[in-house]
């Protein structure tokens, strides 16, 4: 052992390029390049963006960010998006928890078919549902409200939430349920006090996926809103067509749109690995 270290020590002092490091570096550069370029643009003036090619801002400016954070037509986009995303996540998880529990604990007629059928909802592109949702919500007066978008996204998020949560719940032995009942826990108490803490990471992962889908989904949210509940993604695309190309502000908006997702993914990264291990994410 010590011999091996001794003989390897001089070799390490030589400048040697590891193939794996090169591949990794290249991969990360390619991955981060568009994000860097977006950041680069967001810190430049429009004039610099259009006139010169520079790898970093020559005239560093935060004006683009200021525009977004002070103009309500911009920042309300974020607020609207966050509102319906949060509503959607809460609804999806609240609805999916009992459903997933039923699928994981009981066998009933057609349970496997129903479980699979839930997933088929995700197989259709959102565009398919844009028309019926638009017509339906317009006729019942839900058009241009946050709840409209949240409910529309539930169509995709509830099945996914059920699917992910069921995987986590299956990992909890049924004996824990029974022991709790024997100890005197009622179902509700058992579910909230004992069961939910056990699958807390699963709930976290599910919330993340609901959040992510709802946050990035553009078509339905744009179709179902006009002014009051207009999401940030729609604001960005409409700006392009309305007032020409305000490159810097758009880039800043893009950066700010990435931030919430990046934050969420940072907090649930360990749980997602667990979700992958359970084969459900």
């Amino acid at each position: 052992m010590s011999d091996a270290v001794m003989t390897r020590a001089p070799a390490r002092s030589l400048p040697r390029i590891k193939g794996s490091a090169v591949v990794m570096t290249a991969y990360i550069v390619f991955l981060l390049l568009p994000i860097y370029w977006l950041l680069n643009m967001s810190l430049k003036t429009n004039q610099e963006i259009l006139s010169t090619f520079s790898l970093w801002p020559q005239e560093f400016t935060l004006a683009n960010y200021l525009t977004i954070l002070t103009d309500s037509s911009w920042y309300m986009g974020y607020v609207n998006s966050l509102i319906y995303v949060v509503i959607n996540t809460v609804i999806s998880i609240t609805v999916a928890l009992p459903a997933a529990y039923a699928f994981s604990r009981y066998s009933f007629m057609g349970d496997k078919h129903l479980f699979f059928w839930l997933l088929t909802n995700r197989m259709a592109p959102p565009a398919v549902f844009a028309l019926p949702f638009f017509q339906l919500y317009s006729s019942v007066g839900l058009f241009d409200t946050h709840i409209a978008v949240a409910l529309a996204h539930c169509l995709f998020n509830v099945p996914l939430a059920v699917w992910i949560l069921e995987g986590f719940m299956r990992g909890v032995p049924k004996e824990i349920d029974e022991t709790a009942y024997i100890d005197g826990y009622s179902f509700g108490r058992f579910f909230t006090r004992i069961f939910m803490p056990l699958i807390a990471s699963g709930i976290g992962v599910t919330a993340f996926f609901c959040f992510m889908f709802s946050w990035v989904e553009l078509l339905l949210s744009r179709t179902l809103t006009s002014v009051n509940a207009k999401p940030i993604a729609a604001t960005m695309t409409r700006t392009v067509s309305a007032s020409g190309m305000d490159w810097g502000v758009l880039a800043a908006a893009g950066i700010l749109t990435i931030v919430p997702g990046a934050l969420v993914i940072y907090f649930v990264r360990n749980y997602i690995a667990k979700g992958f291990a359970l084969g459900r994410v």
Partner: protein, 362 residues
């Protein structure tokens, strides 16, 4: 307090898990359910606990019918083979949880938890989470939770099966002591005859969803009512030999015979099933009355101080447990000796005709 099962049965789909069973368990007794895997031990326990509803029959607790009652309303506690605790709570909260649900006062709960933890040697671990403990400690935690409740009926479903050998022996000694004090009805499921004998109390032997015998443990061991019970309550299982008796000869296999000795000589002529335990097989003549059999030796297993010999005697597979280490030639005929006082005689349908003389004397 008594728990009475009155012709209880459980049928799932087309399979009968428990055939109609009647049992009466008395307060302050240890009752062992002994049977191989899939014999219905767990099914029977779940019926006793109220986790499953019987397909037919009634369950009486102190004379009151509790057949359809919710498990939450029954005074039962249960420990599983797997170490089942509430992972998100500390050991203290785990043990305290049934008491809290009963609405006991904080001081009372604290005293009860500390006392039980002390009994189960968990006091230093009270602040930890169950998953941070060793397997033995986790199971102690589960046992503590079952004990602290002071339930009238405590069900232990192979609680020691997943523990390593050392811990198992340790807990196996402690459990009867602890439960003697508690004075509840204890039901203990196990696959191991040895465990049943060590725990004492009463034993019900199970075979394919039927209770074949329920009596004091030593009595079941010594006087099994039929061949099935004898097979279940013996490890390795009891050896059998179909015999027919004419005059004073015992005939078996292809015309071989030995002189009948002892109680065997007093049987009326006819066909029987002789049974003997592996530990009564010897490789040399040990008593003047011993009968000699010639069998083929297939396998020997040496465990250090004992040797298991697997024999083939005219198509019947026998296992013998011999003291000491023996180096025997495989595949060769081997003379084995059996004292007639160690032989049980069963009728052809399996019911006991004459118990072995040694068992009667004991």
């Amino acid at each position: 307090m008594t728990l009475v099962l009155d012709k209880v049965s459980k049928v799932v789909g087309r399979q009968t898990h428990i055939h109609p069973t009647s049992l009466e368990l008395q307060n302050g007794t240890m009752n062992v359910l002994l049977g191989p895997t899939l014999s219905g031990k767990t099914s029977l326990m779940r019926l006793m606990a109220g986790l499953d509803k019987p397909s037919a029959g009634r369950i009486l607790w102190n004379g009151a019918d509790v057949t359809g009652q919710r498990v939450q309303d029954r005074a039962v506690a249960m420990v599983y083979q797997q170490f089942i605790n509430y992972p998100s709570m500390s050991v203290y909260d785990n043990i305290a949880s049934p008491l809290r649900l009963m609405g006991k006062g904080a001081a009372e709960i604290d005293a009860a938890v500390k006392k039980t933890a002390d009994l189960m040697k968990l006091t230093p671990m009270l602040g930890r989470r169950p998953l941070e403990l060793s397997g033995g400690q986790q199971q102690r935690c589960a046992l503590a939770r079952a004990l602290v409740k002071n339930a009238g009926l405590v069900l232990l479903d192979e609680p020691l099966a997943n523990l390593d050998y050392k811990l198992r022996e340790e807990l196996r000694v402690e459990i009867p002591k602890i439960f003697e004090e508690a004075g509840s009805i204890f039901v203990y499921a196990t696959t191991e005859p040895e465990e049943a004998l060590l725990l004492g109390g009463n034993t019900a032997t199970l075979w394919e969803g039927r209770v074949t015998q329920f009596d004091r443990t030593p009595d079941v061991y010594r006087k099994p009512v039929d061949a099935t019970t004898a097979r279940v309550f013996s490890d390795p299982p009891m050896n059998f030999l179909p015999i027919s008796k004419t005059g004073n000869r015992l005939l078996f296999g292809d015309g071989q015979s030995v002189a009948a000795a002892g109680a065997l000589n007093e049987l009326s002529d006819g066909r029987y099933l002789a049974g003997f335990r592996p530990n009564h097989v010897e490789v040399k003549q040990h008593t003047p009355e011993a009968m000699k059999f010639v069998a083929t030796l297939n396998v020997t297993e040496i465990t250090g101080s004992e040797t298991f010999i697997h024999l083939d005697h005219h198509g019947e597979t026998w296992v013998g447990l011999i003291h000491g280490v023996h180096d025997l030639a495989l595949g060769a005929p081997l003379e084995v000796w059996l004292d007639p006082s160690h032989v049980y005689i069963f009728a052809e349908d399996g019911s006991l005709v004459v118990p072995a003389a040694y068992a009667m004397a004991a």
